[in-house]
């Protein structure tokens, strides 16, 4: 087998297809890459520069290309390992499981496949942990679980995590990675999770508890238009696709080429949504700085 075939050739984003008749507005779904981007071979080809990288080196570099700084998508467990003090994560509400309230075509099978492939029970892990010694509540989405879409379980876990932080007055950090938006397969119940999580954040805000939202590639649709964009501080990872309506749907509707960099992290910074773009290498320390500015972990 030639060496080349060992590589996972992963598209950075999916190719934009030529316009086809657009569905009426309001479709929140995003193009879905056929394969997940997380490297699992011995060698990995960078979606940014095309360089092949020894996967172990990539892992040591937090799954950021050492050559072009392309930030690979990473799973929830890897993210938790990168962010939290070793062994400090304690998962909460792990027993929640999605059901199929609508009897939606193929949903149970899709759930099962997602669970097998990701090794997760749902598209988010929530819990508590410590970051540079500072206790916090943490939620991390996983784009590999049904594109990181939000159904009842994701909404419930986020809400319970917020309520947990409200009770314990722990600061809250959520790393969003939800290209799928509100999960179609649970219908309007998924839409309601947007309202539920946002309402919980309303209470957290009134209580003056800090919420830092970290937006990673990709975060779109109903995830983007709810808890992900309601952070007191909003941090983006470089080069992420972030927005509400997916680029393909917009493209199909307006029938024009989208401007370069549309819905990128830089786009969101320039258009006033993001507080900052932070390199993965600096993410942990930046969150720590922010927490200390808010008097968590005992000040300076």
């Amino acid at each position: 087998m030639p060496l080349k075939e060992l590589f996972n050739t992963k598209p950075k984003y999916v190719t934009i297809k030529p316009p086809t008749p657009a569905p009426p507005g309001g479709v929140e779904t995003v193009e879905r890459p056929e394969k997940k981007e997380i490297p699992d071979g011995l060698w990995t080809k960078c979606g940014g520069c095309g360089q092949t990288i020894y996967t172990k080196d990539l892992a040591k570099n937090l799954f950021v290309c050492p050559r072009c700084d392309h930030h690979f998508r990473i799973g929830a467990r890897e993210r938790i390992n990168q962010l939290l003090d070793e062994g400090s994560f304690s998962e909460l509400f792990a027993d929640l499981r999605s059901v199929d309230p609508l009897g939606f075509p193929d949903y149970p099978a899709k759930l099962k496949r997602a669970q097998q492939e990701s090794g997760l029970s749902e598209a988010i892990l929530v819990g508590t942990g410590k970051l540079e010694g500072i206790p916090l509540g943490l939620g991390v989405m996983d784009a590999n679980f049904m594109m990181g879409s939000m159904g009842s379980v994701v909404g419930e876990k986020v809400t319970r995590l917020i309520e947990y932080c409200l009770e314990t007055r722990l600061p809250l950090v959520i790393v969003a990675a939800g290209g799928g938006g509100a999960r179609m397969q649970e219908g309007v119940l998924s839409l309601m999770q947007m309202a539920k999580t946002s309402a919980a954040l309303g209470r957290l805000g009134l209580a003056g508890i800090l919420y830092i939202s970290v937006l990673t590639d990709p975060t779109m649709g109903g995830v983007f238009a709810s808890f992900a964009t309601l952070g007191d501080i909003i941090i983006c990872e470089p080069g992420a696709l972030l927005g509400f309506t997916g680029p393909r749907v917009i493209q199909q509707t307006i029938r024009q080429t989208l401007p370069p960099g549309f819905q990128s992290s830089k786009f969101q910074l320039e258009h006033g949504l993001a507080d900052m773009i932070v390199h993965r290498r600096e993410l942990r320390s930046t969150i720590a700085r922010l927490l200390r500015f808010h008097h968590y972990g005992g000040g300076a």
Binding site: G25, V27, E186, A195, G222, T253
Partner: protein, 320 residues
Amino acid sequence: MGNGYTLEFEKKLVELEKKIEELKRYAEEKGLDMAEEIAPLERRAQELAREIYSHLEPWQRVLIARHPKRPTFLELVSFIFQDFLELHGDRNFRDDPAMVGGLAWLDGRAVTVIGEQKGRDTKENLARNFGLPHPEGYRKALRLMQQAAKFGRPIISFIDVVGAYPGIEAEERGQGEAIARNLREMSILPVPIIAVITGEGGSGGALATGVGDRLYMLEHAYYSVISPEGCASILWKDATKAPEAAKALKFNAEDLLAFGVIDGIIPEPLGGAHRDPAQTAANIKRTIVAALEELVKIPGSMLVEERYRRLRRLGVYGTS
């Protein structure tokens, strides 16, 4: 009474109704008494209507919800409220004509009313962007709702929107954040909020003004996470399979009542709201007046608490 626009499945009925009209005109012109001939035809038409409209498929109801003659926000407002006074602008960037809001009297009670306004013709539709708000529309709505809260005024929100607008500028101006902020802020406004989905309840665009103490739907309205066309495109790579998607999404009023997402279904005249806008409006009015009657008795802080509990219950899941 096809209202100049006939849906496929009501063709037979519309033809029969036309015949009856013709017969009546003829009788009048000739000065003939044809009551005996007409009466059975009318009975037949009524039966046919009941037959057709009581067995509608979800997709057929979507077509009714999207009917070009379905009463728009401003039409309903003119029937339901007195002395509507429109207020414009988000105090920031633009007045969005797709989102309308203002002050009005509801049986002697001052309220703030908001809703998307679809156009009646091409010109108005272009001016109002087919009733699809831009971010500044959601922000105008929020401004007016916060103003209502400042003055202790209940809020009535009518929803009829195909979805959030898929455009470059809407993304540039922060559509996602505007929707999210509305969800958060509406959840803590200490005044009664009643929302009614009158036609299309399209995903985030509909939700953006739909958080409240009571949520009602007109009988044929739908409320969905995604348009049936969009769903079909994803599921079967074929937008024409929207009718199947409409079935799968369980987004009709009865489904949502069963899920606990809505508090009640407001009946429409047989055949849909467009067949009798005045009656439709009267039905809406009866429902919101009764709900408001209850809600105004509850102190603001309790309203907010109960509103949260209401949202908190939404979702269906199991445990391992």
